[in-house]
Symmetry: C2
Subunit: 210 residues, 2 copies
DNA sequence: ACCTGAACACCGTTCAAGT
DNA sequence: ACCTGAACACCGTTCAAGT
């Protein structure tokens, strides 16, 4: 069912994603994209419908890359970890475009397939049907938020390093930081941390309903 | 210790936030901001150091509004819910600027105070010290991600409504959606959902360590 | 149906100049 | 120290015109 128009649209979105990967999201302008495709800016409009439509298309383009992980077989725990790890890996492949995933709804069929896979995992693990949509939003929000925080530098040293921090405020003003002085790491292992977080969330789900 | 320069800086950031609240983040341009302050764009540079510095300043400005909730007394559970609710309420007050919280690190003293309050809650609730920074990132990532998803429309009907969804794909391709046909709500109560999510996270923390 | 090219109303940031 | 004003190299989108 993919006609010429759809193919052209995908071609444009691929170019836009490449542009973002190479030069950052700020470099994805209608003009730069058109010039990369050897065309006039206005030639893009029938296919992607303006800048907002382009960014929406990029979200669908990104989520489509999670399909393989979503259809992979295995027990519920394996599938949950597989989808979550794929979602975080995606952030490393496309760090500039990734934050768009939290900034607009995903409406394409491929996006719905990923949600369906998560619903299926949660049903299989024993979450009551009426709670499944809520728990899916909880887990997907955590996963997207974590990966977004990483690529955007929200966890980086400035906020994390107790030395930098404590320079600005007296220890009495930061009692918990002071109490934790011995364990505050300047550069945590985020791979291990993400795994521990997923394990905690799965623990919660199982304790509550399994 | 607040000199004239700091006061001017805060005045500029207040104006930028008001501009975002009234006309959206896209309307926060150096030129529009300068014009609102009756000054030339270049006059802003010594105070906020360009567009990126302005956005970083906005993040600190937003987090400063969480200080009252952070210093409020009470048992750990009350304080955790208080900070989390304040963080979500902040999104409703400043929906356009809010997503910046996930997009850049917070470095100002006020931001560190909020983290310290969360550390204190987690220590009081029984989380082992070496796990506190990780669990703080887990909880804060969920809270910021959830509120960001809400204001950005990631949870909105297009993605959620099973009718809209199922129109694009056959039921056989979405087995879990089909199984959940009776419980998929077109417009969930996000206030109640957020409360339930917080309760689940606190349940997890207590079950694991209390 | 699809694309062009000129035009309009904007951007962020530089630089040299003023006080 | 703080601000101005002109200039440079960009934006997204409109419109009328071409094929």
């Amino acid at each position: 069912m993919a006609d010429a128009h759809d193919n052209r649209r995908r071609q444009i979105l691929d170019s836009a994603l490449a542009l973002a990967d190479e030069h950052g999201l700020h470099a994805v302008s209608m003009r730069a994209l058109a010039s990369r495709l050897g065309v006039t800016p206005m030639a893009l409009y029938p296919h992607i419908g303006g800048k907002e439509g382009l960014l929406d298309g990029l979200v669908d383009r990104l989520l489509a890359e999670l399909i393989p992980a979503s259809v992979a077989p295995g027990d519920p725990q394996t599938r949950l970890f597989g989808i979550a790890r794929a979602a975080r890996t995606l952030a490393r492949s496309h760090p500039s475009a990734y934050p768009l995933l939290l900034s607009r709804p995903a409406v394409a069929p491929d996006a719905v397939r990923v949600v369906d896979a998560m619903y299926s995992v949660l049903l299989d693990v024993g979450v009551p049907p009426e709670q499944v949509p809520r728990v899916e939003r909880l887990v997907s929000t955590f996963v997207l938020g974590y990966a977004t925080s990483e690529v955007n530098g929200r966890f980086r040293a400035g906020t994390l390093n107790p030395m930098t921090r404590r320079g600005q405020l007296s220890p009495e003003e930061l009692p918990a930081h002071t109490a934790l002085a011995g364990v505050l790491e300047p550069a945590p292992d985020f791979d291990a941390e993400f795994e521990a977080d997923l394990a905690d969330l799965l623990f919660m789900i199982k304790q509550r309903w399994a």
